[in-house]
Symmetry: C2
Subunit: 347 residues, 2 copies
DNA sequence: CTGAAAGCGCTTACAG
DNA sequence: CTGAAAGCGCTTACAG
């Protein structure tokens, strides 16, 4: 049988150096009590040989794979890149790999995705759940990222506070009538954001909410939202509950000859890739994904290292709310001369 | 020491059934020659017990982890969701898991990411390279996804042909002067697309290329591109080399009072999430990511199963070019009454 | 400070 | 058709 892993293993280093594998293992891991000089010699030799420890061997022995699973409701979601990047970074920093699984489609696909990951032996799971799914305890520690309203949630952006930032910003700009625009009345995230906006309104301000239908991505753009008419009715600010909807709002207004921000302000959420690219650039509220990922991963890792059984439960200790941050861009500049002047200069 | 994996293992099933582990293993894998009835009994019992094979044990024994690595130049890239989703699906269908790594930043980060994955014991690697990186042969099979112009490339969308689709579409619409808009003259992908467009022009048509600077995502929108002036100069079609740039073009034109598509057509590439959402919806050219992923993964899997050594090289046998597909939406409807009528009806 | 030994769970020739 | 045995590479008590 061919040598499957061409690289050297512990015993090759051991024999080559005339010591035992146990000593090599201890020297390399820094755990056992090995003499300084021997440690040096062993490490040097290992490096020379280009030794790479076998994850399989280690995993079999320790019962830990060193891998975390990431389950997403829909990888095609535009927020995904940021989540994945942040989780991957946090995991890599903690010495873990990240296995992905897409629960595209329904809830049963989510369960399947979780199972696939568990079968691959992940030590823990980061789950961004679909709608308001309750995650039935998997057989490993689980961290859930969504909103405070989600049962079993561990950590999330403070969407409510994010909404308040939008409200305060629009108040500063002097807006009185706000139209909140979402596409999913069932979404915890969107409800938190909308609630935050309403709770943050100042006296004299009012808000209505418009739930628009979800677009089929293939089908081309849906019905016009009639936003120009809303401007006619006196709405001057459109607060979308996601940048994707903000984009829809912005382009429809522009197409219908409404000038943004001179005639109406548009704001979004999430600071998605295009928010800085469109003209005018979108004012938005950003999650601190790196912080969220860091909290989720470290909670998971702590749990993994603590409990010696793999029987996992939700890592619920924390329940962190990570504050969001307002990013002011041109789409919500106030429609007064001073601001317009400034805006022209830096555009 | 606590039982790390709570689940049953082969020997538990074996003793519980009074047979040998070898027989259980053979029955479950369907490889060995085990009597029909015994196979049935064993499988049934395994299912009852909720047996999940240990990947670690299997990996250690076989030298294969059953995991593929996916290396991306920048996970924050908006194309990433589609790539990841497609690769994950293709891999899962072939019985493989997908470990991700982000080579954010420079080329050395890419090498590091590859090493991290190799150290985790991936059986093969799917790499979307940065710029024109040459992938130095890693110690496992590698499939590279980029363009035909990329050295060592295995499979990619036919970006050139995609460009030709755009050219033919604009020709059909009666456009004469085309402005091609890209942001990276070094990019193989963008050059292929631009070349395809130019090569597909009909007699009487002409194209110029405008390379715009890359936006810093944080910095807010960059300088205006002066597109309205280009309309004044007689350009009637703006062919962006990616939907992100198309979005920038579309919103700037609209902000400056140019009506799309009445006064100018706008097209993009990639069918990114927002292309169907904006008003007017973007005409674009779509990659068949599922096909690309399927080809890359199956080439990898074939190579993994064939070669018994893990010494991998680039899986270069195929060199497939997967055709792209034109998706016509409102942003490039011709500016004649008939079309405008149709457009109103289905909008 | 160092080493001999056991064992994690699996698969695969080989023998019966 | 079935089983006994070896061994993948590692870590961890335990003994010296």
């Amino acid at each position: 049988m061919a040598q499957l892993r061409p690289g050297p293993n512990l015993s090759r280093i051991a024999t080559s150096l005339g010591v035992s594998v146990a000593t090599v293992s201890n020297a390399l891991s820094g755990k056992g009590r090995v003499s300084e000089q021997l440690v040096g010699k062993i490490r040097e030799h290992a490096a020379e040989l280009g030794y790479v420890p076998s994850q399989a061997g280690r995993a079999l022995r320790t019962g830990r794979s060193g891998v975390l699973g990431l389950v997403l409701p829909d990888i095609a979601n535009p927020l995904f890149p940021k989540i994945a990047q942040a989780i991957e970074f946090a995991a890599a920093s903690a010495g873990y790999g990240v296995l992905i699984a897409d629960s595209r489609g329904n809830v049963s696909a989510q369960t399947e995705a979780i199972n696939r990951l568990v079968e691959r032996g992940v030590d823990g799971l980061v789950i961004v759940p679909r709608r308001a799914t309750r995650i039935s305890a998997a057989s490993c520690p689980v961290a859930v990222i969504d909103t405070a309203s989600t049962p079993g949630n561990t950590v999330a952006a403070d969407h409510w506070q994010g909404g308040q930032l939008i409200a305060a910003h629009l108040a500063d700009l002097g807006h009185k009538r706000i139209l909140i625009i979402g596409n999913n009345p069932e979404s915890n995230v969107q409800n938190d954001r909308a609630g935050g906006i309403r709770s943050g309104l100042c006296p004299g301000m009012s808000a209505e909410t418009l739930w628009i239908e979800k677009l089929e991505h293939q089908a081309g753009s849906g019905c016009p939202l009639g936003l120009a008419r809303k401007v006619g009715e006196g709405f001057t600010a459109f607060a979308a509950l996601s940048d994707l909807q903000a984009l829809r709002v912005l382009t429809e207004l522009q197409r219908d000859g409404i000038h943004v921000p001179a005639q109406a302000s548009v704001t979004g959420f999430d600071d998605l890739i295009w928010s800085a690219v469109v003209t005018p650039a979108l004012t938005t509220v950003k999650m601190d994904m790196d912080a969220i990922a860091e909290i989720a991963v470290s909670a998971l890792v702590k749990n993994i290292k603590t409990s010696s059984t793999r029987e996992g439960a939700l890592v619920t200790a924390e329940k962190d709310r990570v504050p969001m941050q307002l990013i002011i861009r041109q789409s919500s500049a106030p429609a007064n001369p001073v601001q317009e002047h400034l805006q022209m200069e830096n555009s």
